[in-house]
Amino acid sequence: MSYNGSGTFQINTSGQPVVAGTVISSTAFNALTADLATGLSTAITKDGQTTTTARIPFAAGINSSLTTDSSSTSTGSIITAGGVGIAKALYVGTNANVAGTLAVTGVATFSAAPIYSSLTASSAVATDASKNLVSVTNTGTGNNVLATSPTLVTPILGTPASGSLVNCTDINYTGFKNRLINSAMVIDQRNAGAASANTINGYFLDRWFVTQSTTGKLIAQQNAGAVTPPTGFSNYLGITSQSAYSVTSTDLFLIFQAVEGFNSSDFSFGTASASTVTLSFWVRSSLTGNFGASIKNAAADRSYPFSYTILAANTWEQKSVTIAGDTSGTWIGATNGIGLYLSFSLGSGSTRLGTANTWASANYDAPTGSTSVVGTNGATFYITGVQLEKGSTATSFDYRPIGTELALCQRYFCKTFPIGTAPGNDVTIAGAFRGTAVTINALSQIEPAGTWKFPVSMRATPGTITLYAPGTSGHTAGQWTNDGNAGSSANARTNFAGTESTSFDNTGVLVAAGFRPIIHATADAEL
């Protein structure tokens, strides 16, 4: 070796050093040059021909005259296939590019705002509002939006347990999400809160039909039993069983609402694009167990029976059921006919019960095994807040202004009576329609006549127009009276009815001159 292990080159070949008069033999000379060659070959060459075989200690660091920024692992002043270990501070004068992961075990201090193309947190990050930090949690998916005024592109909000929107503008409110009308059971034009007879078999609260195949088994009343409605509601439809009746195979006891085709055609039932719908409602019964309901088409040859469970007696419970839309059968589209029926069974015979949670080509009221309310004397069944909406999630109840709700009801049933007065003969003259005594022939004979403009356009020309005698007593049904309680000698008659109005006159019987006729009426264009 020409080096002594400490970096000192030693001339130690034989015959060295030479002295004056020594003949330099070829052996000595060649040994010297070989020794020098070995020493020079061991040194680092400045042009990069030599690869060092050990770590090279630099007492005062490395200087490079290169000024080009490093842009890859093969450019720049220092290139290494292995890692770079730095025991002291690292200072980067311009940009530091990290192609892999930058792991910081100490504190990362940013004197300027960092910019992330994406950000992933392995656990929740604390919020520090004073430093404009945003909390990152692992409760959802997707990237965080940190801009002050972000534009959210198709965000999915999921189903927050709670939340509020304050001072928001440009919200496209999806009005009429609830396809049912009077589903908070507020409007009762026909009864004004009075209980039904036990023969009830027709529309009761507005838009809600109560039917019983064997009469005498139930009564209906708005707010029957005077229990406190669920929070957010003031009314409910109450049913009380009048006996312990065992239903026969074909019996039916139902509460149902027929939804007009114009209001349900976008469900696209009967097509491959049928929408999923969700029903939600509040229910309370003196009975517990599995109860039944169903959705049907107009012809009642397609039905989807489903059950819900009342867990505790005499306790309001909210239920929701999601139903995949029917892709078969005949469903009325955007017409004024029956788009669908939603019915709640209070007791149905075996021929009207089917398999739960599947569409059937049959008229099923409920799943097999459903509880019969009419089977227990005195049993109660109360319901309110019924919402049928598009989609697979039950959303908050669609509260509508009372004027809007009433107008929606009046499309199907309206009356001249005050809203809080049930129609009847000799009930009141308030609100009565004033006719005109018209001369009808050359004999100057006089007959009452007039035209009643309905409060809203009705669904169709009313199927039934019922006339009532205004007054206090002594009149027959539909008799013209005057404000002195005198009556015409014959009944009023409707004619020329349409969706906007109907006309009245008398059934061919005249009245005395000076008679100032009044009449009450209801118009029924229900489905």
Binding site: T461, P462, I465, T476, R493, N495, F496, A497, T507, G508
Partner: protein, 50 residues
């Protein structure tokens, strides 16, 4: 017993129960109860002369 009487100037028929007018006028083209009554073989009373 339910009976109906024709009107002489429009499509509505008057409903009677045991011969007593009820005040109900049923659309003879759309009223389901009236149509069912007709389908059972019943015939409405003729209209009054006016």
């Amino acid at each position: 017993m339910i009976t109906y009487k024709l009107s002489n100037n429009n499509v509505y028929v008057e409903k009677f129960i045991d011969g007593i007018p009820t005040g109900e006028w049923c659309n003879s083209e759309t009223n389901e109860a009236y149509l069912k009554w007709l389908a059972e073989g019943n015939t409405p009373l003729p209209a009054d002369e006016s």
